[in-house]
Amino acid sequence: MQLLRPSATLTRWLLLAALMASHGAFAAEPLQLQVDKLIVAKAAKQPFAAPADDAEFLRRAWFDFNGGIPSAEETKKFLADKTADKRAKLIEQLVAAPRFAEQMAEAFNIQLMERNGSNDEWRSYLTESFRANKPWDQMTREILSPDFKDEKLRGAGWFMTRRLDKVGQQDTDYPGLTRDAGRLFMGVDLQCCQCHKHLTVKDYKQVDFNGLFVTFQNTKLQAASGDYKTAWVQEAMMTNKYEFVSVLSNVKGATGPRVPLGVEVPLPDPAKDEIWLVPPDPKTRKPGVPKFSPLKELAARLASPENPLFARNIANRVWWQLMGRGFVEPLDLNHSDNPASHPELLDLLAKELTDHKFDLRWLIRELALTQTYQRASLLPVGAKSPPEELFTVAKERPLSAEQLARAFLAATGEQERVVGGKAWEGVEGKKHTQKDFEKAFLAAFANAAKEPELNVNPTLRAALFLRNNDLVLWSLQRRKGNLLDRVAALTDAGKVADELYLAILSRPPVAEEKAELEKYLTKHAATREKALGHYAWAMLSSMEFFTNH
């Protein structure tokens, strides 16, 4: 559905400003309520799903803010809790817990690096930044203009250095880095306007690509040495604009570092300004350090309240993270002919986030408290295929390989052994570690490098893994203290069903499911333990377990 938007970005901002002024009372309302109002308003006559039941909500919130699942005990406790605002309290609890920062770091790592390698310092940087609730604009500046000498900040530089790693005899991929910076931090994919204007998106011009490109191309990847404990990026002196020609129209252009669809950074004038911070030393042949850092100047303007696309992008992505679909889709193709599904709402979120100084934790908490977030994934009666972009039903979202591994170990009761390293006495065979499981789950479930993980995506590889992998089947063998051990000790089929469903799917079984299990166990009475293992396997391999619904 493409609504033609004749106005350019600026005009739309003016319109929004007028809207905000007229809805003076609106501004005072908590954001969560405004969100729901706008969602409901847009959906008009469409049927909405009911609120998610406690179990679905619990599991969803845990995955989103903790990265794993609650234990059967914790589930039972939450379900039994009669307090009115228990959901809000749960959200507060999860967001305040240490695992929140780790889960955010994990999610952002997947989003920003798209499975292109792994680096401990980069992960630490992300985790620590989220732990300190660092504003997103600050993080962006630290990533796009890294301080490689600071022990706490050099990890951020891996975003760039990884992309500048040479592969075989191929040229350093400056265009790739340019494209990713545009996509991930501003929601614009400028890939197709390097050599000519974009052929299908009229907003994206050659100058937009090249303004970013010139900044990155001005850098050189250096190996770690001396003060630099990691690979780092060295900037050269830049005093001239970069000239380019369109291969289609032969029109020429020139630009210095520039924010795509935004402002250009003025270049220093060697005649007037001091251009060297540390002048080059002809005797020692040491290159100088220029005073003008294109990366720093560009990053300052890109990650700024003055760049509307910056706030818009992160608001869109955070919405996608929690709801499974951005207002602008694809997430990296924001332009005037691809309008948001809820333009007013997206503008609101962008503005509010900017006003709150890009505090992501604040935004996430607000969104988690909306009815929109807390809707069921069960379709309302009569609605066969509600349009996803109306958010009338919660969308099933993908679980990362890391979340699956964590949930799997928790569900099978092997967490203490594998993650904690305890309770191995009397256990035969190899001692599996958390790393073993992570490695195996990543190999089975993570996408190939540079493939964004955006949707629920069952693969052949994952199916084979679940069917035949040693680790999977090992976890389902009875062992002291694990799930199979607990259920094998129970004689009552009803109790078995309770235990299995609460532990694995984080919900109580319905009557039909209890009956089914009873029938199954009766049939396999002679090999009950094995049968229990197979049943648990079926649950762990089911879509219900595999998705974040």
Partner: protein
């Protein structure tokens, strides 16, 4: 390490994979085929492809286009082939006997003389630059033709080294069209049914899983569950045919005919896969970049390829598969006529050869020629784009009309300005 032992001769340690109900593998009377039913299905004429990739650049002067007794000809003799007037290097005695089934194109002239860019460029067909990574030929066929009725994965790669799911080949088509690689001819992780399970147990627990999914999806959007069922089904099909991929079950007599070498063994696995119905099988061989000591190296390498390739041609012909299987053998370029400082040959995309056979290709043909010294093509050469057009045509795909749809960006299958090589086609 004992240098005299060949790694591929080690028995691979395997878990029992078919459990108690392991069916006896049926060895048909026809040239060692695995299952008569599979052969029958194949006679139903579904088109398939065998793509042999000799990574590094096999020397055309020591194989398809020898120049004996010339300045750059090297030490080897030539031999007559089954096509009167055509000679191959003495290093290819078996292929010489199969020449009447082959189509050798001797005037290939391409642009890239580097491996890291050349390998991908050649396998992607080096089309006009449209800012996207084009798929390798296998991914392309996987997309355009999909799996055969066998439901086995459409694009399988038998190679030395690592296996697994290789998404890179697929380019803009997306990882779904990547290859399923069998490293060292072995199946990817987790292909074989776990030793602790019987077939019945496996079937039952999967039925349970489907049941749970049905209940889950009863009130939800069906898309994801459908996808899940599909991949679990594919997994089952693949597991059922695990015998096709098991190199320990290859009969000794066959191994001798293909050669007890890495490429021989992999070529046998490839044959089994084609017979079982895999749409596109790529066989990879590495180490052909003979910059140094090219002649002793070729003397060691070329006969191994020769034996394996001739054997599979023979077998495909005997079973009737050759009629609808397009066979290709090539590298990313040829090798220099000039012999360099360490008695080797360097890269030579300027004039080299590829060999084809089977579906849609003219049998017993030699297309084009190089000059007397082999330094250049006579008249005009054919770039890889033309070769791609030739392959598509041979498979019955009109590469001038059919296009890819990349998120509503239409893209030609191969280089716009090039044409199929008429003389190579039936």
């Amino acid at each position: 390490m004992n240098p005299l032992c060949k790694p591929w001769e080690h028995a691979t340690s395997r878990r029992q994979f078919l459990g108690a109900s392991a069916g006896a593998l049926a060895f048909g009377a026809l040239g060692g085929m695995i299952s008569p039913q599979a052969a029958e299905a194949m006679r139903k004429q579904e088109k398939q492809v065998l793509f042999v990739w000799l990574d590094g650049g096999m020397s055309q002067l020591e194989s398809w286009d020898p120049k004996p007794n010339t300045e750059f000809g090297g030490p080897f003799r030539t031999i007559k082939t089954s096509v009167p007037g055509t000679h191959f290097s003495e290093l290819m005695p078996q292929c010489a006997k199969q020449a009447h089934r082959l189509c050798v194109v001797r005037n290939i002239a391409t642009k890239d003389n580097a491996h890291s860019s050349g390998v991908a460029r050649i396998q992607r067909g080096d089309p006009k630059n449209r800012g996207v990574a084009y798929p390798f030929f296998g991914s392309s066929i996987a997309k355009l033709m999909g799996p055969t009725a066998s439901k086995l994965p459409a694009y399988v790669w038998v190679k030395p080294g690592s296996g697994g799911f290789k998404a890179e080949d697929a380019g803009f088509l997306g990882p779904k069209y990547g290859s399923l690689a069998f490293g060292d001819g072995k199946p990817p992780e987790d292909l074989l049914r776990h030793a602790s399970l019987t077939v019945e147990e496996d079937e039952e627990r999967n039925e349970l899983r489907e049941l749970l999914n049905q209940r889950y999806t009863a009130q939800r959007r069906p898309t994801f569950t459908e996808a899940s069922s599909f991949v679990f089904d594919s997994a089952r099909e693949l597991m059922k045919r695990a015998d096709v991929f098991d190199t320990t079950k290859l009969p000794a007599k066959e191994l001798d005919r293909y050669g007890r070498t890495e490429i021989g063994q992999h070529m046998m696995v490839a044959r089994n896969m084609l017979e079982a119905g895999v749409r596109f099988v790529k066989v990879g061989s590495y180490g052909w970049d003979t910059h140094g000591d090219n002649f002793n190296a070729s003397a060691s390498l070329v006969p191994k390829f020769d034996r394996a390739f001739a054997a599979i041609i023979e077998d495909l012909a005997a079973t009737g598969l050759l009629d609808h299987t397009l066979v290709i053998a090539m590298s990313e370029f040829g090798r220099t006529p000039r012999i360099n400082g360490h008695v080797g040959r360097d890269h030579w995309p300027e004039a080299w050869s590829i060999a084809m056979a089977g579906c849609g290709v003219k049998a017993g043909a030699v297309v084009g020629a190089t000059n007397a010294l082999g330094t250049d093509v006579k008249d005009k050469g054919h770039d890889i784009g033309a070769v791609f057009h030739t392959w598509f045509k041979a498979l019955g795909i009109d590469s001038k009309k059919v296009e890819y749809d990349n998120n509503s960006q239409p893209l030609p299958l191969a280089h716009d300005d090039m044409e199929a090589i008429k003389e190579a086609l039936v």
